[in-house]
Symmetry: C2
Subunit: 339 residues, 2 copies
Amino acid sequence: MSSRVTLSDVADRAGLSITAVSLILNGKTGTGLSDDARQRVFDAALELDYRPNLMARGLRTEKSATLGFVSDRVASTRYAGPMIRGALRAARERSHTMFVTETEGDPAEQNHAIEALLDRGVDALVLATVTGRIQLPEQRPGVPVVLLNGASPDGSHISVLPDETAGGRQAAEHLIGLGHRRVHLLGVPVHLDDPERVITQVHRRIHSLLNTFRDAGVDVVPVSYEREHWDADAGFDTASRALRDAAPVSAVVALNDAIAAGAYEAFRSAGLRVPEDVSVVSFDDDEIVSFLRPRLSTVALPFEAMGRRSVELALDGAASGEYLEAMHLRVRASTRPGA
Amino acid sequence: MSSRVTLSDVADRAGLSITAVSLILNGKTGTGLSDDARQRVFDAALELDYRPNLMARGLRTEKSATLGFVSDRVASTRYAGPMIRGALRAARERSHTMFVTETEGDPAEQNHAIEALLDRGVDALVLATVTGRIQLPEQRPGVPVVLLNGASPDGSHISVLPDETAGGRQAAEHLIGLGHRRVHLLGVPVHLDDPERVITQVHRRIHSLLNTFRDAGVDVVPVSYEREHWDADAGFDTASRALRDAAPVSAVVALNDAIAAGAYEAFRSAGLRVPEDVSVVSFDDDEIVSFLRPRLSTVALPFEAMGRRSVELALDGAASGEYLEAMHLRVRASTRPGA
DNA sequence: CTGTTAGCGCTTTCAT
DNA sequence: ATGAAAGCGCTAACAG
């Protein structure tokens, strides 16, 4: 009853050897087996509902049709979900199954997770981060590794990143195209050019914004913040401060959606209306955006595409280097033509 | 060189047979092996950094130290994350590694996923849903199965659910304790008692609210909705309608956080202030709550605890039946004493 | 065209 | 107190 049907069951039923069955089922060409035999095998396999034991096969072939997704965080952020989903889809297309582990940002935990996965014979590893800062494994595992949403420090790894330079440019060009001539940039880290404190992605996003605005002759005012996180409070603070200290603008760029949410509150408190008095464009296209009114124009982070890409690279093979995934501007109701 | 160190490498180095090494490393008692031998084996294993090949072991023992988490949705909702995280933690504590798959609600896809996992020798299966409605597998897999966040239709499965009855009671008692004598219930489905259309969890939540309020002599007014989802728009509509049609209340229960977010907007439009004019309590403790002002009082869904519990039951063994996980009231700024 | 044989790395029974 | 041998289910040389 319980125990599954094996190759030898199929062989018995088809009246052939195990070998022949294996060859046929694996579509091995060249080995001239009769069409009759072939048919008998397929019939038998179908009738018995034969499914190969992948652990046995893996033991022999050193391939498990399995890969490991090692993430610093899978819950407590809305970003991991889409990455995992994209990865899952690419894995399924390749008949692979995916292990997911969470390290909570602890390097020891990450090493532990990697070893556990290697012990189970994974064919490849995706090292993902939602914080944007990747933790490299102590020693190179014997399988392909792809870094997801984190830059490779020395360029010796395959890494998948959002194309922040193009994304920043899109946001800027959107406002420029609407005729805005003076904008605030809400949430610029004080140590912008210190790679120790500011991840590559953010650095590129901001510099791209600054360059694009300046090239177009737009007056762009960075409004810095010193908080730990880009959250709604940071948005409220920076927006309020900009309102108080700086000359008025017709538009702001919030460096992410949470900042934008906070800025909405600040504008509302100040009696300003979005988008009538001030346009807001931001980044991420976070799920929270659906709760904001007016609906936020934002440049979406392509997390699902990145997740997908990461396993494609891991499973299909690729040269090391940076692979950029396009960001997409979603124009909604928070931006309109301005002075 | 790549290939990993095996039992026989350790045996060579320790000057013993493979058998002896296996016995010792697995802590097999009874087999009288000398302490000296034992020591030599441990030393050798340590020096060579031996790690057992789990596929080989699994082939022999029929145990893979692996389980499968089959979810209808892993992204596109903030609920799956915490469930997965809880499950992951329990798995790690048991030295198991977890496969995650997504079926997108498609039964065929689910069967496919289950087979793929069984082919890889998973020791147990967790069938999770974020929609609350579980899809049973066509045929019982040969391993323990736990239903996560879905009721077992005939009670023949192990299933893990939030304790909605107690949760509903808590929300009601909170408002009762604050002195509210008349409340609206925002978002009651029109077909509340049709199990085909309303999942068990919601049914219990609402009936518990109604019963608790009525037992306390509180005047409770269900405000129905006919939309597909409990989203912010549904909240805005129901709250607006209640404001228009019904006698005023000092408090409302929103049936989830998105409804509450919409109700906030409706109250704001009507010039009502939360909590000064109307208290709001809701359910879920969704991540979006952190963007609402004033901070929302809500009864948290225990998704992480449920995820954890599901793999505990799957891996440690359990009788079939319903396992309820406590919901917790988070009192924040949206509720205050009322008339 | 087909079958025999060996072996992947491990556990486990049975001898010694 | 230790080892030989068989076998989990599969693939892959190599014979016939």
